[in-house]
Symmetry: C3
Subunit: 430 residues, 3 copies
Amino acid sequence: MSFSTNMRFKFPILAIVLQIVIIILFGVFVKYDTHDHSGPHNSTHEDNTFLNLYPLFQDVHVMIFVGFGFLMTFLKRYGFSSVGINLLIAAFGLQWGILMQGLWHLHGGKIEIGILKMINADFSTATVLISFGAVLGKTSPVQMLLMAIIEITIFACNEHLAGYLGASDTGASMTIHAFGAYFGLAAAAVLYRPGLKNGHENEGSVYHSDLFAMIGTLFLWMFWPSFNSAIADPGLNQEMAIVNTYFSLAACVLTAFAISSLVEHKGKLDMVHIQNATLAGGVAVGTCADMNIGPFGAMIIGFIAGIISTLGFKFLTPILASRLRIQDTCGVHNLHGLPGILGGIAGIVAAALGAKEGCSPTMQGAALAATLGISVVGGALTGLFLKLPIWGQPPDQNCYDDSIYWEVPLEEAEHENHYQDEHGKMKVDA
Amino acid sequence: MSFSTNMRFKFPILAIVLQIVIIILFGVFVKYDTHDHSGPHNSTHEDNTFLNLYPLFQDVHVMIFVGFGFLMTFLKRYGFSSVGINLLIAAFGLQWGILMQGLWHLHGGKIEIGILKMINADFSTATVLISFGAVLGKTSPVQMLLMAIIEITIFACNEHLAGYLGASDTGASMTIHAFGAYFGLAAAAVLYRPGLKNGHENEGSVYHSDLFAMIGTLFLWMFWPSFNSAIADPGLNQEMAIVNTYFSLAACVLTAFAISSLVEHKGKLDMVHIQNATLAGGVAVGTCADMNIGPFGAMIIGFIAGIISTLGFKFLTPILASRLRIQDTCGVHNLHGLPGILGGIAGIVAAALGAKEGCSPTMQGAALAATLGISVVGGALTGLFLKLPIWGQPPDQNCYDDSIYWEVPLEEAEHENHYQDEHGKMKVDA
Amino acid sequence: MSFSTNMRFKFPILAIVLQIVIIILFGVFVKYDTHDHSGPHNSTHEDNTFLNLYPLFQDVHVMIFVGFGFLMTFLKRYGFSSVGINLLIAAFGLQWGILMQGLWHLHGGKIEIGILKMINADFSTATVLISFGAVLGKTSPVQMLLMAIIEITIFACNEHLAGYLGASDTGASMTIHAFGAYFGLAAAAVLYRPGLKNGHENEGSVYHSDLFAMIGTLFLWMFWPSFNSAIADPGLNQEMAIVNTYFSLAACVLTAFAISSLVEHKGKLDMVHIQNATLAGGVAVGTCADMNIGPFGAMIIGFIAGIISTLGFKFLTPILASRLRIQDTCGVHNLHGLPGILGGIAGIVAAALGAKEGCSPTMQGAALAATLGISVVGGALTGLFLKLPIWGQPPDQNCYDDSIYWEVPLEEAEHENHYQDEHGKMKVDA
């Protein structure tokens, strides 16, 4: 078993080959976006655009790397992987996303990099990070790199299709959140581990790991208005996207706290709900973030999202695991899946109410259906590919444990297997 | 006793009813600010205003949610409440603040939401979060929601009064910091618990909880220039507010470190001082942040603030507890109270020296006096209301302990009371 | 021994005297930059400049205070010092940096503070924080303040010299990273402690301290594009600096992960590499960040940087310690030294290829050589000065231990020396 999980050659070779291929493709296809600087009149305006959107890009950047990374550190012995492999996937994914999204929009055979391309590249990594949450603790770094290649490729196609259909999805409830969630859940279903059906001793939090996770929660929560508005049309649409997301999230906090207390032992609050369900309002308001739904309309969406997300964690996750054999480590179905579908439906309703010019409820519905279908099929096929026993996946007993892929400092006498490294430090052996 | 602290119905019902009331009020009163977009000339300019101020708004947002939230995680067993209830209060408070502040500035019977309204809404929550620090560990979530309703209402009135008097308080040393501190201290005095006069075993930090608190400290420290400048007049006043706050905070760090070492055992530094007193320079320079006091003037304010804040923690807090029977958990008197008054006085002096056109020292003094009076009376009355034995406040022995309101993972054998939840995980019972 | 490390008088007196001297110098030399506001035409433009660059300044600010501060919290018992003394040095250093850099650019005998001056002041502190990493755990707060005074003074001279030579170093691979690293390493060589040559029980991480360090890593990684572009020429150069740094860092992550797995036991990843070597791409692309090297050129630089940095940690650090008697606590040679030189060389090559108008490879080389020479000599002399046995440096057995300079809460029964403070709390005694 130690042979199959040893990453020594397969992981470094894969990572370096991928990076070399990307550098070659960038050499051939990618250049700076200098168009608006060559013209004498537009230069100032374009300057403003890059630097005006740069703070929103950085907010999204923080969500991807700190937000997603730390949100998953809630597991007691899996923080290195959560935050480390998150960094690896996202750093690879943003490069791959530039290529996959850019190939649909070539200018003279070239992909021209500006701030919008960078924001979209970060967005494309979010799908994989969401799917990562579904299979967290049960996959190897090699598997995650492979998933990133496949998922971002399919994502870019699906996103292009949604645009082709004329659907509006500025905050990407459908094309990122629902897509990433159902892709990951389908993969998790294929990768089902019967040996974990009664849980695992490491599949839980400790006091401080729950606080680390709150770092992720809060940066996601605060910067979600930037996520939902970064690629909106400048002006009032962009401002409405910010305002709507701000209020949807605020309303969602109240209902997530309320329902958590309502369903838990003695009316107590559950950290899992607070870490996740408070964010559902950001997911659910995404599709119609830039539409004229009114602040109170945004609040209603957040209100409902907080309720269904919390109820999902409490009642649906156990059913998914036992009946559908889907082990959803982070509960992405409750944070991204259900609220993503709610967002898609809200977009259909808003389009029917005329909240955004040129949006058709039919096309919104078509984009939602296409997203769900493509993500489930894509995720299932990816799961089959990842199931090949050559990618170094961990055995059941080493799931949710950093020490199988990481050098872990020896903390206490709790671990029986340990060794002394060449610097004389005690390390945990898997 | 377990009955009275059970939040199962009173908390969810309160939270959901409040959110529904807010949604209805938003439906009636709140709309997007679209004025400047309708005019053909101003649209570009207004675009700039929203997106130009958006980064400052996000800095303030981080201060409210990460800054205040993590600053209070220093307590060894109260991190969930600190960062969680902070999120709850702020998410509710910003919605309530939009309404309470907006009612004073209706346009055609409507509150029009733009970036300045969002910044001010975040500001209004800061008062409650400061007061929360005074009563931290001794109140229930229900009590905190009730305090938020009352305090933000009174804050909006007091802020309107200060504006009516013509007082300048751009960084809100008086109207936010002094107000929040004395409101909270008055409430704490009324809620005095004799049973805690000899301390409590959980009223202290552990090594890692002090590091979590430093996350809060640093984000507050770094983004304070945004807090003090976000609503300043554009141009030189706003830039002076940034520059002055930057230097005041820097000077304050040096004196806070110096005095901490001077008064502690063997010249050692105390984390409580470093976490809090290094921020006093941001509080104290608030009122005159946008005035022409010169960088060295700002430094003098920060220099003094670091000294009085550290001395306050060392010598005044014990006296407050023993003589005045005010148990100030986070020492908000030293971080927000004293430096807030110092800021008010600095504003009087600066106005007398003509540092800002149209500012009268008399009116500055009147605003300070009004703020102190209103906050103490308001806080005392709120304390009386919160003392009603129906809000689920914790018994003395369960103070400073998350497990009374939260599902807490069982970490070690340290807790005698625990149970197994429906997922088979071990939890701490209060 | 307890006498010499007692900071009670020497530290407070030094800190307060320094702050008073700075306030006086600011009173004499420093004023707001109001030039562009006096003219009727430029006022709007200058407004934009200040607020346009303010988000980039805040990103740099976060890198300095959270990034550097938390990156060093990886040590198990030295987190208070890492994040606390980092704050102290930076808060002092930015004030001193304003003066030292400003004296080279007086206008009418005055230093005029605008946003670029604030960014450069933050930059100047980075050199000391890098050097701090080399001597971390083996110096007193007094020594670090003294090092800050000397190093920032020499840095400002060297930076002025590089500008005088006409060298381009927008992201400061040479003048900040290589300078700070070799200054610190030279000081560490002079301060060599034979008693630590076999390591120290506290010179290592625990599980949660490695996660705290990742907070630092991620904020450095995300905001590095702001660091490398903040003082670039507006327009295309600034945008290229952002884009190049974004891609260099992404490529660097892949190779850092790959090489870490390649060289470690059983192909596992090492947190030290992930925390540090993933950042080398930001350092190495600094000098030519704003040059027309193409996104793939930036990736090649990041690719190489990730490899040499990880190999440096694995193979060079042990050699430095045993052969050259340089104990480099944080491995700054691998994160800032080698990648800084790589950045300088990349700048020479890029200049030779004509990637930036007016850049001469000869002058780039001269600036690199001057930087290395001045930093080594300056660091060695500073080390000699700091070696005087009057600055309260810790004895060998108390190295890497917060409790010698900090009040540390007693956590477990692990410490034999403890006492009860005046509030009845248990503290660790050094």
